[in-house]
């Protein structure tokens, strides 16, 4: 533990967010010899393209009449590979501290520290966080008997579990926790599941054998006291109100986007977006830039292609910020042997 928190990685640029715009920023910064670390709450690159619509086509990427969210992500990863970016996945930025020399120390929620000369926020709509289900008063049970993810299975041992949802997370944890739980009830709105058919079949066999329960309906309330759930009120698909005994609840209602701790960095915000200029895409804090969907300026369009443009201009501004005395010679990848060498072509 101490080893982890004491070591500080050093780089030129920390990019918050590994969506398409954050990824392309690696390319533009790389051409200017700046090395990047990227931090993202998801477990893979692509941001919304990977999480919300991996299979859905995008039609407004120049020169790609049609490309899927995952396809775009894969291409960008290929394009930036020569610059060896370092990825920190499953991490949220917890804080940013400005140092006396103008650099920044970025801390993740796992207490890792990265020192960087420049910070680029490319966090799109914010960080993906589990959606809180529509149950009044659920907050008072959170982290004591209601959990949105399973960090330690021990937490669920010998408990009466109520797992809510019909996707892979709900089904996987139903199957995985059943052996250690006292009882498991799976609650889903309807008798069709989004999860892998194999898991659904396994679950149905377990229900038939009487090892667990399946209830169709929606939860409307939780009953208990002092953060300890005792039962859940459920409106069944037939419209009846029933009580389901449970001491641990695991709702899997998908993910939503929240600006998160960035809101507390002291940057000028405008309706949860970060105000920037259109020359450098600089925020109100010297050395911190914001590109892509998370920024705002007069005429802003939330398009991936606008984010790419912003990344290019930001990169030149960041280079000037880091090496104020170095003259930047603007070059094209098509004709510059220097740039081609960096790209390894």
């Amino acid at each position: 533990m101490s080893e982890k928190s004491n070591s500080i990685a050093e780089t030129d640029v920390v990019i918050v967010g590994a969506g398409p715009v954050g990824l392309f920023a690696v390319f533009e910064l790389g051409l200017l010899d700046l090395k990047c670390h990227l931090i993202d709450i998801l477990d893979r690159p692509g941001g919304q393209c990977a999480e919300l619509y991996p299979e859905k086509p995008i039609y407004d990427i120049p020169a790609w009449p049609e490309i899927s969210g995952q396809g775009l992500t894969d291409r960008l990863m290929e394009q930036i590979a020569p610059f060896d970016p370092v990825f920190h996945f499953n991490r949220m930025v917890a804080g940013v501290e400005k140092q006396a020399d103008g650099s920044f120390i970025v801390t993740t929620d796992e207490d890792e520290k990265i020192k960087a000369k420049v910070v680029v926020i490319a966090a799109g709509g914010g960080s993906f966080q589990p959606k809180r289900p529509p149950v009044p008063g659920i907050e008072e049970y959170e982290d004591t008997s209601v959990f949105y993810s399973v960090r330690r299975t021990e937490e669920f041992k010998d408990h009466d579990l109520l797992i809510i949802g019909g996707g892979d997370s709900a089904l996987d944890w139903t199957l995985n926790l059943l052996p250690i739980a006292k009882s498991v009830t799976l609650l889903h709105r309807r008798d069709a599941f989004r999860a892998a058919p194999d898991s659904v079949n396994k679950m149905k066999v377990l229900v038939e054998k009487g090892h667990m329960s399946l209830q169709l309906g929606q939860v409307t309330g939780l009953n208990g006291s002092n953060g300890q759930v005792e039962s859940a009120s459920v409106k069944t698909s037939e419209g009846d109100m029933i009580d389901v005994n449970c001491t641990r609840v695991l709702p899997f209602f998908g993910l939503t986007m929240k600006l998160g701790p960035i809101a507390d960095w002291g940057l000028n915000l405008n309706e949860n977006l970060i105000s920037v200029d259109t020359e450098k895409f600089a925020t109100s804090e010297h050395g911190i830039y914001a590109i892509g969907d998370i920024n705002t300026y007069p005429g802003k369009l939330k398009l991936i292609l606008s984010g790419f443009h912003e990344a290019a201009l930001m990169a030149h501004a960041a280079k000037k910020h880091i090496d104020p005395d170095e003259r930047i010679v603007f070059q094209y990848t098509t004709s510059s042997t220097k740039l081609q060498k960096k790209l390894g072509v």
Partner: protein, 106 residues
């Protein structure tokens, strides 16, 4: 142009003219109807443009397709006439459509 009436959770009515072919979600955003968020921008990839179609219009508006039904699992207080408004296309047939906005989206 077809008219759509949005009834906000507090009962406030918003009557808007909607172009044929546009979606019920787009018209809500364009006219700043409160309570419709449309986080994903209309890709049927979130459930934050959830509405209740007025009973009288439920048949004409039709039910959700499989993908939309999947996304409705993530919506708040799903009812029999629940739809994602980004998946309802405006047409002359729907002139006069009434949709109610739920208490909250997510």
């Amino acid at each position: 142009m077809p008219k759509i009436t949005y009834v906000a959770h507090d009962g406030t009515k918003f009557e808007v003219d909607a172009e044929n072919g546009s979606t019920v979600m787009e018209n809500a955003i364009k006219n700043a109807v409160p309570g419709i968020e449309a986080e994903c921008g209309g890709a049927c990839a979130c459930a934050t443009c959830h509405v209740y179609v007025d009973e009288a219009w439920a048949e004409k508006a039709g039910g959700p397709e499989a993908m939309e039904e999947d996304m409705l699992d993530f919506a708040y207080d799903v009812q029999p006439t629940s739809r994602l408004s980004c998946q309802i296309k405006v047409s002359d047939e729907l002139d006069g459509l009434v949709v109610k906005v739920p208490e909250r989206q997510a």
